[in-house]
C-alpha cells in the first residue's frame, strides 16, 4: 500500500508543478488544485497508513492501536482552505481575463505579439 500512496502523491505533485508553470491561468488553477490534492494525501499518510483500526474514541480498543485522528482534522482544514482559495482564484482569473483581454498569466497580448513577430520576419 505504501508504494501506491507514495506513487499517487508523486504523480499528483509532478503534474501539479507542471501545470502551475503553464502560461495560461486555467492550467495554473488546475495545477494548484492537484498540488492541494497531493498535499492532502500526504498529510493523511503522515498519520501512518493503517487498515481496520478503531477510532481513538473507541474505549474497547487496546490503547496501543488506534488510527491517528489528528491528520484527519488537519486534512479537513486543508481541504476547506484549498477549496475556498481555488474558488477565489477562479474568480480572479476570470476577472483578469475580462480586464486584460486574454488568459495569459502576465496579461500579454499574445495574438498581437504573434502578428508583430510575423511582420518582423
Amino acid at each position: 500500500m505504501e508504494w501506491l500512496i507514495s506513487l499517487a502523491i508523486g504523480v499528483l505533485t509532478a503534474t501539479g508543478v507542471y501545470l502551475t508553470l503553464r502560461a495560461r491561468t486555467f492550467p495554473v488553477v488546475l495545477g494548484l488544485t492537484l498540488l492541494a490534492y497531493a498535499v492532502n494525501i500526504f498529510l493523511f499518510a503522515m498519520g501512518r497508513l493503517t487498515v481496520g483500526l478503531p477510532a481513538v474514541i473507541d474505549k474497547t480498543a487496546e490503547a496501543a492501536q488506534y488510527s491517528d485522528p489528528l491528520p484527519q482534522a488537519l486534512v479537513l482544514t486543508a481541504i476547506v482552505i484549498a477549496f475556498g482559495m481555488t474558488a477565489f482564484l477562479i474568480v480572479l482569473a476570470l476577472k483578469a481575463r475580462g480586464e486584460l483581454g486574454n488568459d495569459h498569466v502576465d496579461g500579454l497580448d499574445v495574438e498581437s505579439n504573434h502578428a508583430s513577430n510575423k511582420e518582423a520576419k
Binding site: T20, L43, L74, L92, A93, G107
Partner: protein, 512 residues
Amino acid sequence: MSHLTAWPVFLPLITGFILILAHMGGIRLQRAISFLAVIGLVLLSMTLISATSTDQYQVYLLGNWTAPFGIVLVLDRLSALMVLITSLLAVGALWYAMTTDTDKKGAHFHILFQLQLFGLNGAFLTGDVFNLFVFFEVLLLASYGLLLHGNGRLRTKAGLHYVVINLVGSTLFLFAVGALYGVLGTLNIADMAAKIAIAPQEDLGVIAGAGLLLLVVFGVKAAMFPLYLWMPSAYANTSAPVAALFAIMTKVGIYSIIRVHGTLFGDEAGELTYFYAPWVLGLGLVTLFLAALGVMAARGLREQVAYLVLASVATLLIGVGLMSPAALNATLYYLIHSTLIAGAMFLLADVVLRGRGDYEDRFESGPFMPNAILIGSVFMIGAIAMTGMPPLSGFFGKVLILSAALDDTWFAVIITVVLVSGLITILSMARSGSLIFYKTLSKDAVVSSKPIEPLNRMAFIAVIGLLLSSPALVIFAQPITAFTEATAHQVFNSAAYIEAVLSTPMVTEANK
C-alpha cells in the same frame, strides 16, 4: 491565565462581524466602528507590552486543553511588540484611507481591514504550527481582497501573481508541517522543540529538510531572494493605505523565522542548532544587493518604495542570520523603524501621485505640485530615515546591526554589502527627490487630463504621524533598546519558552 492575551485576536474578528452588520448603516458608521476598534487595539497592545515586562510568558489555553494537546496562544515580549507595531501602522493606514475616501472605492474595505488585523495578530500570538498556517491563510485571503480593492488592470495582474505564489507557498507549508508531524508527532512549537532535542539520528535529515522547506515558505512571505519577484509590483500597484499596511506583511515572515526556527532549532537542538542561519544570512545579503539595484532601477516612486521595503527586509534577514542576542536586539529595533517608516513612505508616494496629475509618481519632470515645499521637506526626512543616514532611527538601526556583525566571521562581506547598497539607495533617493521636486516643468508645458489635486491636509497627518516614529525612536532610544534587548534575550532562552508552554495548568474552579 488572563483573557487579555486573546483579545488582540478576537477584537478585530468581532469588529469585522459587527462591520458586516453595520454595512447598511453607511460608510460613516463603518468608519467610526473600524477606527475605534483600531484605537482600542493600540491601547490593548500597550497594556500587553507592560504585562510582558516581568519576562513571564502569558500562555492562553484555547478551549482549556493543556499544551501539547490543545492549541495555545503565547504572549511574550516579541509577540507583544509585533502586535503593537501592527496596530500603530493600522491607525496610520486607516486614517489615510478614511481621509482620502479610498475606503469608498469598494464595498468591504473596513471588514477586510479588520480581518487582515485578525490574521496578523493571530499569527503573532499562536504557539502552534498548524494554527500559524491557518492564520496565514486568514491574513492572506484578507490581503487578496485588500490588494484588489479599487480597480485597475495592473492591480489585477499583480494580484494574480501574488495569489498564485502564496497558494504555492501554502502548499509547501502543509508539506513541511505534515513531514514534521510525521516524524515528531506533535504540532505545538514548544513540544516540537522538546522532541527535536531527543530525536534519533536517522530522523534528523527529515527534520532538517522540513525545516528548510518552512524557511522557503517564510521566505515567500518575507520576500527573500529568489522569492521576492512578486513583491515590488504587488506593492506598487495597490492602493496606498493597503500598501502601507502591507509593510507589516513581509515582517510576518521575519517574525515566523525568529519564532519557529529560533525555537525549534535553538540551543538544545543538538546537530541542528541554528543550521538554517547561514542560509538566512547568505540569502539576506543577496536580497539586499538586488534590492539596492531595484531601488536604482525603479521607474516610479511607489516602485522605489517597494524596493526600499525589500532592502529593509533583507537587512532584517541579515540580522536574524547573525544569530546572536546583540544582532537580534538590533534587528528588532530596525524592524520597528523600517515598518513604520515604510508605511509612511507608501502614503507619501500617494500624496505625490495625487499632486502630479497625469505624471503620477513616474520619475520624469512634471508640474510643480501644490505645497511642494512641505511635501518635499517631509520626503527628505523620510528618505533620510529610510536610507539610514544620521540623525534618524535608520542610522541607529544599521549601526547596531553592523556592530553586531563585527563578531561574525563574514563581517567584511556583510559590512561591504550593507554599506554599498546603502550608498546606492541614498544616491537613488536623492535623484528621485530632485526629479520630482526640483526639475519641474513650466505651467505651459504641463499636459494633464487628470486634475492636480490640492494637498489633503487631513490625510497628510497620517504621513507625519508615522514619520514622527523615527525621531521618537532616537529620542527614546534608551528605553526602546532596553526593551528590544530583553526581548532578544527572551527569544534566545527557548528552554524557558518550552517550559512555560508545556507546564501551564488547565484552568479549574480552584485556580480561577
